[in-house]
C-alpha cells in the first residue's frame, strides 16, 4: 500500500470515529426537532453532564470505591452517563418543554432552553470549578495496527457503542409499535393524538432518549475534549451544522451528515490545520443551504397559505 493511500485511509478512519461521536449528539437534536419542532440549546450541557457523570463514576465510584478494573469502570461509566442524561432530560421536559409545548411558538422555548443552559453550566462551574479535568480512557493508550494504519482501542469502542446505539434507535423507530407512534407524532401531532396516541408520553420519551444519547456521547467525548463545565459548547455548534446538513428531523440524513463532517474534520486537520475546522464546516453548511436548503435527504414540505 502506498503512503498516500494509507494516509487517506487513516484519516477516513479517524473521521468515522469523530463522526460517530457527532452523530450521537446530533441525533438527539434532530429527534427533538422532528417531534416537537423545537431547537434545544441546552443539549450541549446534557453532553457535559454526561461527561462529568462518566468521569466521576469511572475514576472514583467503580474503580476506587468498588474496586473494579479501569476498563470495566470506563465501560460501566458509559451507562452511568446515559442514565444521568436521561434523568436530566426527564427534569427539563417536565420543567420547560411540557409547559411550553402547546403554544405554537418557536422562539420562547428556544430562550427557555438558553436559560436552562446558563443554569446548568454555572451549576457545574460551582460544583467542579473552571480547571479542566484529565479524563483518561484506559483504552486510549493501546493501539491496534494494520500495516501502516493505526487506531486506538478507544476508537474501536466508540464506533461499536455508537453503532449499537444508532442501530438500536433505528430499529426501535422502524420496527416497534412505540417507534411507529413516535414517527406518527412527528409527522402530524394532532392527527396522531386523534388516533389515540398519547403524545405527551411520546414527547417525554423522545426527550429522554435524546438526552440519554447526549449523556452517552459525553462519556465517549470526555477523553477527547477539554473537560470543563463549558465543554459541550465546542461540540454543539458542529452538531447544529450536522442537523441542518442532514435535514432537520431526518434521522438517516443526520447519520450520513455526521460521519461526513467527521471525515471532513479529519482531512481539514491533515491539510489545513486544526484551527480552521469550524470555519470549513460552517462554510460548507452555508454552501449547502444555498444549494439544497432541505438537507441531504429532501423532506416533503407543503406551503400552507
Amino acid at each position: 500500500m502506498s503512503d498516500f493511500l494509507a494516509l487517506i485511509l487513516q484519516q477516513s478512519i479517524n473521521g468515522i470515529y469523530l463522526g460517530c461521536l457527532y452523530v450521537l449528539v446530533a441525533l438527539g437534536l434532530t429527534l427533538i426537532y422532528g417531534v416537537m419542532n423545537q431547537i434545544n440549546f441546552a443539549h450541549a450541557d446534557f453532553v457535559t453532564v454526561g461527561a462529568f457523570a462518566a468521569f466521576f463514576s469511572a475514576t472514583r465510584l467503580f474503580t476506587k470505591w468498588m474496586g473494579m478494573s479501569d476498563g470495566t469502570g470506563y465501560v460501566l461509566s458509559i451507562f452511568m452517563a446515559l442514565a444521568a442524561g436521561a434523568l436530566l432530560g426527564l427534569l427539563v421536559n417536565a420543567a420547560v418543554f411540557a409547559p411550553l409545548r402547546n403554544r405554537s411558538d418557536e422562539l420562547r422555548p428556544l430562550i427557555a432552553t438558553i436559560g436552562v443552559s446558563v443554569l446548568l453550566e454555572n451549576a457545574q462551574l460551582i460544583l467542579f470549578g473552571p480547571i479542566p479535568f484529565q479524563f483518561d480512557s484506559p483504552f486510549a493508550q493501546n493501539t491496534i495496527r494494520f500495516g501502516k494504519i493505526f487506531f486506538s482501542e478507544q476508537s474501536v469502542l466508540v464506533v461499536i457503542v455508537a453503532a449499537l446505539a444508532i442501530g438500536g434507535l433505528y430499529s426501535f423507530m422502524k420496527f416497534t409499535f412505540l417507534g411507529k407512534a413516535l414517527r406518527a407524532v412527528s409527522q402530524d401531532r394532532e392527527t396522531a393524538g386523534l388516533m389515540g396516541i398519547n403524545e405527551n408520553f411520546l414527547i417525554a420519551l423522545t426527550i429522554v432518549i435524546a438526552s440519554a444519547l447526549a449523556g452517552m456521547a459525553g462519556a465517549l467525548l470526555g477523553p477527547v475534549i477539554v473537560l470543563t463545565p463549558f465543554a459541550g459548547a465546542s461540540v454543539i455548534v458542529k452538531a447544529f451544522a450536522i442537523v441542518i446538513i442532514g435535514g432537520f428531523g431526518n434521522m438517516e440524513g443526520t447519520i450520513i451528515a455526521g460521519i461526513l463532517v467527521g471525515i471532513i474534520e479529519a482531512f481539514t486537520v491533515q491539510y489545513l490545520g486544526s484551527g480552521v475546522i469550524d470555519l470549513v464546516v460552517f462554510v460548507l453548511l452555508l454552501f449547502m443551504l444555498v444549494v439544497k436548503p432541505t438537507g441531504l435527504i429532501a423532506e416533503r414540505r407543503e406551503e400552507n397559505v
Binding site: Y33, N37, I39, F41, A95, V96, P99, L100, R103, D105, E106, L107, R108, P109, L110, I111, A112, I114, G115, V116, S117, V118, L119, L120, E121, N122, A123, L125, I126, V237, F240, A241, V243, I244, F248, G275, V276, D278, L279, F282, V283, L285, L286, L289, V290, P293, E303, V305
Partner: protein, 338 residues
C-alpha cells in the same frame, strides 16, 4: 424604496417622550455615581442598541437571526483596525465600520430570501461562528486570540466657543452612546410606524400573502437585515474604546443568544420592549451579586421563568397587570405574539 424611506424618516417625532428620555439619560450617571456603575451604564446603552437592532429583524420582520454578534464584531474590529493599523480618524473609521456591517447584513439577507424559521436561525448562527473563526485565524489583521490592546476611547470633540468634550470618563461616553441609542430609537420608531413598518409586519405575519399583495419580500428582508446589521455595527464601534482591549471571545455566539434573550424578555415586536429587556438583563447580574457564585444560576433560572410565565415579555406582563388593576381587558397593542 428610497422615497418611502425618506417619507418614513420625516414623520413627526414624539417630543414629550423624547424629552423625557433625554432627562432620564442626563440624570442616570448622577444617580449611579461610581465609575463601576457608570461603566455598567455604558454597557447598558450598547446593549439597548443591539437589542433594538435585533428586534427589527426578529420582532418586526419575523426572521430568526442568531448572527447579531457577528455584526457587532465587524463594527468593533473594522473601527479598531482602521484606527490602530491605518491611522484613521475614529469617527471616519466608525462610519466605515457601520457601512461594512450593513453590507455584510445585506449578504446574510441573501440567505433569508431562501430560508425560514430554524433553518435561517442556524444559517445565521453559522455566520456568527464564521466571523468568530475569522477573528481567531486572521492573525495578521486581528492579532488572533492574543487580542488588540491599548485602544483609546473616542477622541475629544472640540467645538468653537464650547469647552472640550472628552470621552475619557464613563459619564461622557455614556452620554455619547445613549444619545446615539436615543436617536436610533426615534428613527426606528418612525420607521415601524410608517408604511415600511406595515410592509415588514406583513412579511412577518405571512410572507406568501404579502407577496400576493405585491410586497417584494426578498428586498424588504434585505432592507431589514441591512439596517439591523448597521445598528449592531454602530454599537460595535464604541465597544473597543470603552473596554480598551479587543479579543474574539467577546463576540462568541453566546452574545447572539444574550441579545435574543433581551428582545424576548422585554417584549419583541414593540419598540420599548427590547429596551426594557436590555436594561433588565444588563443590570440583573449586578443586582444578583448578593448571590455570589450562584448569581448566574439565578440569572438562568430567571430567564427560563420569565419565558414560562410571561409569554409576551415584561412589557406585556406589565400591561396585563395595569389593565387588571384598572379592571379592564388587556390591550392588544403589543405585537409580535406569533
Amino acid at each position: 424604496m428610497s422615497r418611502r424611506v425618506a417619507d418614513a424618516l420625516s414623520r413627526p417625532v414624539r417630543w414629550p417622550a423624547f424629552l423625557g428620555a433625554l432627562v432620564v439619560i442626563a440624570l442616570l450617571p448622577m444617580v449611579l455615581g461610581t465609575p463601576y456603575w457608570r461603566g455598567i451604564l455604558v454597557v447598558c446603552a450598547m446593549n439597548v442598541l443591539l437589542a433594538m437592532s435585533l428586534n427589527l429583524v426578529i420582532g418586526y420582520t419575523g426572521q430568526l437571526s442568531l448572527g447579531q454578534s457577528g455584526f457587532f464584531a465587524i463594527g468593533a474590529y473594522v473601527t479598531t483596525v482602521l484606527l490602530k493599523s491605518y491611522g484613521w480618524n475614529f469617527w471616519l473609521a466608525g462610519v466605515a465600520a457601520v457601512l461594512a456591517a450593513g453590507l455584510v447584513g445585506l449578504l446574510l439577507a441573501a440567505f433569508a430570501a431562501r430560508l425560514r424559521g430554524h433553518y435561517l436561525g442556524i444559517a445565521s448562527l453559522g455566520f456568527a461562528v464564521i466571523v468568530y473563526q475569522i477573528l481567531i485565524n486572521w492573525e495578521s489583521v486581528t492579532k488572533g486570540v492574543r487580542g488588540i490592546y491599548g485602544i483609546m476611547p473616542p477622541p475629544p470633540i472640540r467645538l468653537p466657543g464650547l469647552p472640550e468634550i472628552s470621552f475619557g470618563n464613563q459619564a461622557t461616553l455614556f452620554y455619547l452612546v445613549a444619545g446615539i441609542a436615543l436617536c436610533v430609537y426615534v428613527i426606528l420608531d418612525n420607521l415601524v410606524r410608517s408604511p415600511i413598518g406595515e410592509t415588514l409586519r406583513a412579511i412577518r405575519e405571512d410572507e406568501i400573502s404579502a407577496a400576493s399583495l405585491g410586497v417584494n419580500g426578498a428586498r424588504w428582508k434585505a432592507f431589514s437585515f441591512g439596517v439591523s446589521a448597521a445598528i449592531a455595527g454602530l454599537a460595535g464601534c464604541f465597544y473597543p474604546g470603552f473596554v480598551g482591549t479587543l479579543v474574539p471571545d467577546a463576540f462568541g455566539i453566546v452574545e447572539s443568544f444574550t441579545m435574543l434573550a433581551m428582545v424576548i424578555v422585554g417584549g419583541m415586536g414593540t419598540m420599548i420592549g427590547p429596551v426594557i429587556g436590555a436594561v433588565v438583563l444588563t443590570f440583573l447580574p449586578e443586582v444578583l451579586r448578593g448571590f455570589g457564585d450562584f448569581r448566574l444560576i439565578v440569572y438562568g433560572l430567571a430567564l427560563t421563568l420569565v419565558v414560562l410565565f410571561m409569554p409576551g415579555g415584561i412589557l406585556q406582563a406589565w400591561q396585563i397587570l395595569t389593565a387588571r388593576l384598572r379592571g379592564t381587558e388587556a390591550s392588544e397593542s403589543t405585537g409580535g405574539g406569533r
